[in-house]
């Protein structure tokens, strides 16, 4: 009994010491960004972003310049983010949902409307990427990055120019060579596009046809994975991958044999957007962050780090010419005009897409 008490006491002491150290580190960190640590809530900006989706040096310079301390948390899917914010108990000032999720959060009254008079950088954005149907007049969101869904190929196994459209993936010679990104909406969407249908279809026969067609892709599929797809492709594990443009950029920087194609038969154009969830605690800091990110020099720097395409026209002009004119990242108007953004389908149809995808995953071999 005595031993037990001693042990418990020892654990308590350790916990207290660790707690003290944590407070000390927070204090140090606050001081290093020139921040008085007393009114915590007013000096902290909590950001909820995708993993590896900002240049860390920008966060540092933002803290230095504005004196806010950034609390940075990450998620790996729109749905995970939605669930966490919806469950409550969080106090995110900034979140980064994709376009269909902006629409959903807006409908569910989870977003704070933006006061445009406080946004100083709006004029920098390309009007072509503003006022999109998912958020008319950008009442709730400012675009952060945009990109496409496409095909990555490795020129050790595939000849350049061999892949032009989604339908090329179904060729029998690519047996066991394709990696797919584990996302119902994207894989169902690309199959729909290969059939010339809308990626937002609510037509049962179209969807059933797509599911049937997708099942016939299984012999060519090597694996269905998430973020690991980048590592695998960089290591020549597979010849082809269906993935987002930014992931592709990262793989290509690690393996010069990889190339990215935006298929010419349609597909998805997506936006990730900065929004202020209703959980916002520090509006001033959130506006400061949005303005900071819209500065051409910062947006350009961030775009070069992340690899996705920036909707910021002024920043785009600052990018190296090779990036600016690269059709993989900034596709020509003809290709762009065929791409669609995802709409929020509502629970019933989302369920249907997901069930079809789950069923596809179950078709082994």
């Amino acid at each position: 009994m005595k031993k037990l008490i001693h042990l418990s006491l020892a654990i308590l002491v350790v916990v207290a010491a660790l707690f003290g150290m944590r407070a000390w580190f927070t204090h140090l960190e606050n001081r290093s960004v020139g921040n008085s640590d007393q009114p915590q809530g007013k000096r902290t900006l909590t950001i909820y972003n995708w993993g590896d989706y900002i240049d860390p040096s920008i966060l540092k310079s933002f803290q230095k310049e504005t004196g806010y301390r950034v609390d940075y948390e990450t998620f790996d899917s729109n749905e995970a983010m939605y669930t966490k914010i919806k469950q409550g108990g969080t106090h995110y000032d900034i979140a980064v949902p994709s376009e269909y999720m902006v629409e959903k959060m807006r409908q569910d009254n989870m977003l704070e409307p933006l006061d445009h008079s406080k946004l100083t950088g709006l004029k920098n954005y390309n009007p072509a990427f503003m006022n999109e149907p998912f958020d008319p007049k950008n009442k709730y969101s400012v675009p952060y990055f945009w990109g496409t869904l496409g095909i990555v190929y490795n020129d050790k196994f595939i000849k350049p120019g061999e892949i032009k459209s989604w339908n090329d993936l179904w060729r029998p010679e690519y047996k066991q060579q394709i990696m797919l990104v584990d996302s119902a909406r994207d894989i169902m969407g690309m199959t729909l596009a290969s059939n010339g249908k809308s990626v937002n279809t609510k037509n049962l026969p179209d969807l059933a046809a797509a599911r049937g067609k997708l099942t016939t892709l299984m012999p060519n599929v090597k694996a269905i994975v998430a973020d690991e797809i980048k590592t695998y492709m960089a290591q020549d594990e597979a010849a082809l991958a269906v993935d987002y443009s930014g992931d592709a950029a990262e793989m290509m920087s690690r393996n010069s044999h990889l190339h990215y194609v935006v298929p010419n038969d349609g597909g998805n154009l997506w936006f990730d957007n900065l929004v202020m969830p209703k959980t916002v605690k520090n509006k001033a800091a959130a506006y400061a962050f949005m303005n900071y990110m819209s500065r051409p020099d910062i947006a350009a720097k961030n775009a070069e780090y992340v690899g996705y395409a920036t909707p910021n026209q002024a920043a785009w002009q600052r990018l190296p010419k090779a990036t600016r004119d690269n059709p993989s990242w900034y596709p020509p108007k003809v290709v762009l005009s065929k791409l669609e953004t995802y709409q929020n389908l509502g629970p019933t149809w989302t369920q249907r897409y997901n069930d079809d995808f789950l069923e596809f995953k179950m078709t082994n071999q």
Binding site: D182, A184, L358, E359
Partner: protein
């Protein structure tokens, strides 16, 4: 101690049970009877037992969990047996436990390094002239990794039961003329059945719902119930269906516990 005192001491324990064991299970069962719009429905169960997809997935999960348990047991029993007879048994046990201190994801990534097209194993195969083989994303790779992860949880209970065994019974068997094999088979194995049971429970049940490994190593070519639950809670947001699968898993666990329970009279431990 009076009776009243005992009751007072047990209050926190019961409170804990009600709050963190019983209440969540009730919520889970309740949730499994609601649809996307929050109304009461039996549809989740109907679609679970009515669709080939879910039944096949259940069958798959049980099948894989069963094989993984079998592999684990086949490796662990002899290992625990040998270890229990070694001089520095505690040291060897320590070596077995050590990998459990390493994060699961790190171990999975280490296996990617071994199994990949340009991984260590394929380098070796190329070197001996066989040429690179597809190892990642196969059922074999998934089962190997799952078994590797679970082995410590199987060895520990078996090892303990072997060490705690009354050594004089083994001596008696030898004295009474049993051969070495007879002693092992008729005395030691039955006496260590408690450890085996505990090990099987500790391996089979978590393997049923493994989900990170199915994606990382199995490339989603192996789908378990765990994958489906993750999908329904995180992606589809169909908590009703996710809960239904959760309830099925709980039932499966209950069945496992029942089948592997300590039968009185049987092996008379």
């Amino acid at each position: 101690m009076t009776k009243k005192r005992t009751i007072n001491f047990s209050v926190p324990y019961y409170l804990w049970l009600v709050l963190f064991v019983i209440a969540p299970v009730i919520l889970l069962i309740f949730e499994s009877f609601t649809n996307l719009h929050g109304q009461f429905t039996l549809a989740n169960y109907k679609s679970y037992f009515g669709s080939g997809t879910y039944l096949r997935m259940t069958f798959n999960s049980v099948f894989f969990a069963f094989i993984v348990t079998l592999i684990t047991l086949a490796i662990s029993y002899p290992m625990a047996f040998i270890m229990s007879r070694l001089k520095h048994a505690q040291f060897w046990l320590m070596l077995v436990i050590l990998p459990t201190w390493v994060n699961l994801l790190l171990k999975a990534y280490a296996f990617i390094g071994l199994f990949a097209q340009k991984g260590t194993i394929n380098d070796f195969l190329t070197f001996v002239g066989i040429g690179p083989q597809q190892i990642m994303f196969t059922n074999g790779a998934f089962m190997a990794v799952a078994a590797y992860l679970e082995i410590p949880f199987m060895i520990m209970p078996i090892f303990n039961s072997l060490v705690e065994m009354d050594q004089s019974l083994v001596n008696a068997a030898r004295d009474l003329g049993a051969t070495k094999w007879q002693t092992v088979w008729r005395v030691i194995v039955p006496l260590s059945m408690n450890g085996v049971r505990a090990g099987v429970q500790a391996v089979f049940i978590p393997t049923l719902s493994l989900f990170m490994i199915t994606r990382l190593i199995g490339g989603n070519r192996v789908i378990t119930l765990g994958t489906a639950i993750e999908e329904h809670f995180m992606v589809t947001q169909n908590w009703g269906m996710g809960s239904t699968i959760g309830v099925v898993l709980i039932v499966a666990m209950a069945i496992t516990m029942y089948v592997t329970r300590d039968r009185k009279g049987g092996g008379k431990a």
